[in-house]
C-alpha cells in the first residue's frame, strides 16, 4: 500500500496543507477530508506545500478541482508551492498552471495572501 500523509497547520489568515508521499486514487479521500474540514471551518486561504509529494495522479489533481470553486466563491484561493519537477510535469501536462497559482516556496504563496488581504 502506498504511503501518503496530509498534515495541516494554520497561520494568521491562511492554512498550509503539507502533502507527503503518493497522492493517487487510493489516497485522494485523505486529502479530500482535509479540504472538507478546512472549508467547514471557513478557512479559504489555503497553501498546499508539495515539498515531500513524490507522485500525483489525475485523481489527486481532481481533489484540487473539486474544491477550488467553493474556495474562490468565498474569496479565497488554493495556491500550490514547492513542487518537484516530476510533480510539476503532471500539473503542467494536464493544464493546471492556467488554473492555479504555483509558487517556488511556501512563503511566496503566503505573501500573496497577505498582499491581497491588505488590498481589501
Amino acid at each position: 500500500m502506498s504511503e501518503f500523509k496530509v498534515h495541516h497547520r494554520d497561520g494568521e489568515g491562511f492554512s498550509v496543507i503539507e502533502l507527503k508521499g503518493y497522492l493517487d486514487a487510493h489516497t485522494a479521500p485523505d486529502l479530500e477530508s482535509t479540504f472538507q474540514r478546512l472549508l467547514g471551518d471557513r478557512k479559504f486561504n489555503i497553501v498546499v506545500n508539495c515539498k515531500d509529494l513524490t507522485y500525483i495522479s489525475s485523481a489527486g489533481l481532481g481533489v484540487f478541482m473539486a474544491y477550488i470553486e467553493d474556495v474562490r466563491k468565498n474569496k479565497g484561493d488554493i495556491k500550490l508551492s514547492n513542487m518537484s519537477p516530476k510533480v510539476y510535469n503532471v500539473f503542467d501536462l494536464l493544464g493546471f498552471p492556467i488554473l492555479y497559482e504555483i509558487y517556488k516556496d511556501e512563503q511566496e504563496a503566503i505573501n500573496k495572501f497577505r498582499q491581497h488581504g491588505k488590498k481589501i
Partner: protein, 577 residues
C-alpha cells in the same frame, strides 16, 4: 593597388566577422523563436528595413507565420497557401498587376522581397522583407548577403523544427502515458471498491483532474431508468428527461455531433443550454449502463478525439466495477435470505414434536417435509391427563422467519390453553383473538385441533378454516371433519366456534394434512387435488399409519415427477387398532 587590395581584403572581412558571429549564435540554439527572430532582425538591421516576417511550411502548400516585425500582431499564427514557391528569390518591387493569390498576402503587408529558406528537405519556409528605408531596390550584393544569412541559419532552423516536433511528440506521449497511468491506477482501485458510490466519487475525481472539467453529471441505469447519481450542474427537469433519450448513445459524442443526428436533435439543444459539451456512454458488453455528461474544459480548448477515447475507457472501467458492486450486493442479499431461511427452518423443526407419544389402542405417524422457502406448517401431539391427547395441524400464511415465529406463537397458545378449563370453542376463540391482536389481520392461521379420549375412542375437534381432515371408516366410507369456524387472525371472534364430535371404531383411519399435500404440483402446474388424495387413502385403508404416510408421499412424488414444491407438506395419520 595596395590600398585597393587592402580595402578589398578588409571589406569582406568586416562583413565576415559579424557573419561568423551570427552563424555561431544561430547555430548554437535550438529555440526556433530565437533563431527566426535573430535571422529576421539581422536581415532587417543590415538592410535597414522596418518590416519583415518568417513563414514556415506546416504541411503541403500551407505556410504559417511564425515571426513578424513591424506588421502588427494580428498576423501572428496566420496560415496561408503558397502554390508557386521556387528555390530563388522573388522580387515584389513595382508590381502593378496581381501576381496571383499567392503573393497578394505579401503585397498587402508591403513585402518587397521573398527569400525561400532552403534545407536538404527543400523549401521549408520563406522570409519576407519589406521596403528599404532608402526606398532603393535590393542590389545584387544585398541579395547575396541576405541569401548567405538565410543559408547560414537554414540548418539551425531545420534542427529547431525537428526539436519542436520532438517536443510535441514527447508531450503527447507524456499525455498518453499519463492517461494510461490513470486508467491503470483506477482499474486497480476500482477492483478494491465494492461500493458504487465510492466508484462514482473516484471517477469524478479523475474526470476533474485529467480533463479539467468541473461541470459534469454521472448517470446510472437503474431499474429501467437513467438516474443522475452525481452531478455538478444545474439539474433541470429537462436534463432528467434528456438522459433517458441519451441512453441510446453508443459512442462518445460531442454535443455538436449529436445535434446533427435527427434522433438526438432536441436533446442536443437541451444539452447545449445546460453547457454540456460531450456525452460519454458507459458500457458493459456494448450495453449502455451509464452516462457521463461533461461541461466545458476549464483549460480551454475543445474535446479532442484522444480525450473522448480516454473518457470512454474510463467510463467503461468504472461501470464494470459498479456492475460488480451491484452483483456483489445481490449475492450478499441472497446469502442473507438463505441464512434467514435456515433460521426459519430451525425454528420450525424445533417446534415439531421430536417423538410422538404412544397411544394405547392406536397407531400414530406424522411427517413434515419443509420446502425450500419454508412455509408455515405445524403439527403437534400432546399428552393430557386422563388418557387424553391433543392432535393439531396448522398452516400459517406467508413463508420464512415471520411465518415460523407466528407458528411458535400458536403453539405456545395451544399448549397453554389446552390443559386449562376452557371448552375447545372457547380456547379456539382465545387463540383467534390473540393472533388477531398480534398481527392486526395481515397474517392468518388455519388450524385443526382435536382432543382424543383414548379410552372411550371419542374425538372432539374444532376446525378453524383448515383443510378438512379425512376419516376413512373401516368400511371405506369417507367422512370429513368440518365443524369449527373462521380462520384464526382474520377478525376478532364474533360467532363462537363450533365443536365437532365423532366416535372412532377399530379399522378407522384419520388423515390430517396441509394444503402442501393436496396442492402438490406436477410439471404442468396442476394440483394433486383432494379427490386424488381420497382415492389413494381409500386404497391404503387398513395399512399401518407409517406405511400410509410413506405411500402417500410416494404417490405425490410420482405425480410431481421432480417438480420442486413451493409449500411445506405435513401429514398426521391416526389409525384405530
Amino acid at each position: 593597388m595596395g590600398i585597393r587590395s587592402r580595402s578589398s581584403r578588409n571589406k569582406p572581412s568586416s562583413d565576415l566577422i559579424p557573419l561568423f558571429e551570427y552563424s555561431n549564435v544561430v547555430n548554437s540554439s535550438v529555440d526556433l523563436k530565437f533563431i527566426l527572430s535573430t535571422v529576421l532582425l539581422t536581415v532587417m538591421g543590415k538592410m535597414l528595413v522596418s518590416r519583415g516576417m518568417v513563414l514556415l511550411r506546416k504541411e503541403g502548400h500551407l505556410f504559417g507565420v511564425v515571426a513578424a516585425k513591424g506588421v502588427g500582431e494580428q498576423i501572428w499564427r496566420r496560415t496561408i497557401g503558397i502554390q508557386k514557391l521556387g528555390k530563388s528569390m522573388v522580387s515584389l518591387h513595382n508590381v502593378k498587376k496581381s501576381l496571383g493569390e499567392d503573393y497578394d498576402f505579401f503585397l498587402h503587408y508591403e513585402m518587397r522581397l521573398l527569400v525561400p529558406i532552403l534545407t536538404r528537405a527543400g523549401v521549408v519556409g520563406v522570409l519576407g522583407i519589406g521596403e528599404k528605408f532608402s526606398r532603393k531596390k535590393f542590389s545584387a550584393s544585398d541579395r547575396k548577403l541576405i541569401k548567405s544569412l538565410v543559408n547560414l541559419s537554414a540548418s539551425a532552423i531545420e534542427k529547431a523544427v525537428i526539436v519542436d516536433q520532438l517536443k510535441v511528440a514527447n508531450r503527447s506521449l507524456d499525455t498518453k502515458y499519463q492517461e494510461l497511468n490513470t486508467l491503470f491506477e483506477l482499474s486497480k482501485e476500482f477492483n478494491l471498491v465494492l461500493d458504487s458510490q465510492k466508484v462514482v466519487r473516484l471517477l469524478t475525481f479523475s474526470l476533474l483532474g485529467q480533463i479539467g472539467v468541473n461541470r459534469y453529471a454521472v448517470c446510472l441505469f437503474q431499474s429501467g431508468f437513467m438516474r443522475i447519481v452525481a452531478s455538478k450542474m444545474e439539474e433541470r427537469a429537462e436534463l432528467h428527461q434528456a438522459v433517458q433519450t441519451l441512453a441510446a448513445v453508443q459512442n462518445p459524442m460531442l454535443t455538436e455531433d449529436l445535434a446533427r443526428r435527427r434522433e438526438f436533435q432536441d436533446v442536443a439543444a437541451h444539452l447545449a443550454r445546460a453547457t454540456v459539451r460531450a456525452v460519454i456512454p458507459m458500457q458493459v458488453q456494448n450495453q449502455t449502463k451509464g452516462l457521463m455528461l461533461l461541461g466545458e474544459k476549464l483549460h480551454g480548448g475543445s474535446y479532442t478525439k484522444g480525450d473522448l477515447e480516454f473518457l470512454y475507457s474510463l467510463g467503461n472501467l468504472a461501470i464494470i466495477s459498479i456492475e460488480n458492486a451491484r452483483l456483489f450486493q445481490e449475492t450478499l442479499e441472497k446469502q442473507r435470505m438463505q441464512e434467514e431461511l435456515k433460521i426459519a427452518r430451525e425454528i420450525q423443526q424445533g417446534l415439531l414434536p421430536q417423538h410422538l407419544p404412544e397411544i394405547e389402542g392406536f397407531d400414530l405417524a406424522a411427517v413434515n417435509i419443509s420446502s425450500k422457502e419454508v412455509g408455515g406448517d405445524y403439527y403437534d401431539v400432546m399428552d393430557l391427563p386422563g388418557k387424553e391427547f391433543v392432535l393439531a395441524i396448522g398452516d400459517v400464511s406467508g413463508k420464512g422467519t415471520p411465518a415460523a415465529l407466528l407458528m411458535a406463537n400458536v403453539q405456545a397458545a395451544l399448549r397453554a390453553l389446552a390443559p386449562m378449563e376452557y371448552t375447545m370453542p372457547e380456547a379456539t376463540a382465545r387463540m383467534n383473538d390473540i393472533t388477531y391482536s398480534n398481527t392486526r389481520g395481515d397474517k392468518f392461521i388455519t388450524l385443526f385441533w382435536g382432543i382424543l379420549n383414548a379410552e372411550r375412542r371419542d374425538l372432539r375437534y374444532v376446525n378453524a378454516g383448515h383443510n378438512l381432515p379425512f376419516l376413512i371408516r373401516a368400511d371405506k366410507t369417507v367422512e370429513r371433519l368440518s365443524d369449527g369456524g373462521i380462520i384464526l387472525g382474520m377478525m376478532k371472534t364474533v360467532t363462537p366456534y363450533e365443536e365437532g364430535r365423532t366416535t372412532l371404531r377399530p379399522g378407522d383411519t384419520m388423515f390430517l394434512f396441509t394444503d402442501g399435500v393436496s396442492e402438490a404440483m406436477n410439471d404442468h402446474g396442476e394440483d394433486f387435488t383432494e379427490e386424488r388424495l381420497e382415492g389413494v387413502l381409500r386404497k391404503l385403508a387398513g395399512f399401518r399409519a407409517s406405511d400410509i404416510v410413506r405411500e402417500v408421499q410416494k404417490e405425490i412424488e410420482a405425480y410431481a415427477g421432480g417438480t420442486p414444491q413451493s409449500d411445506d407438506m405435513t401429514m398426521v395419520v391416526l389409525r384405530v387398532l
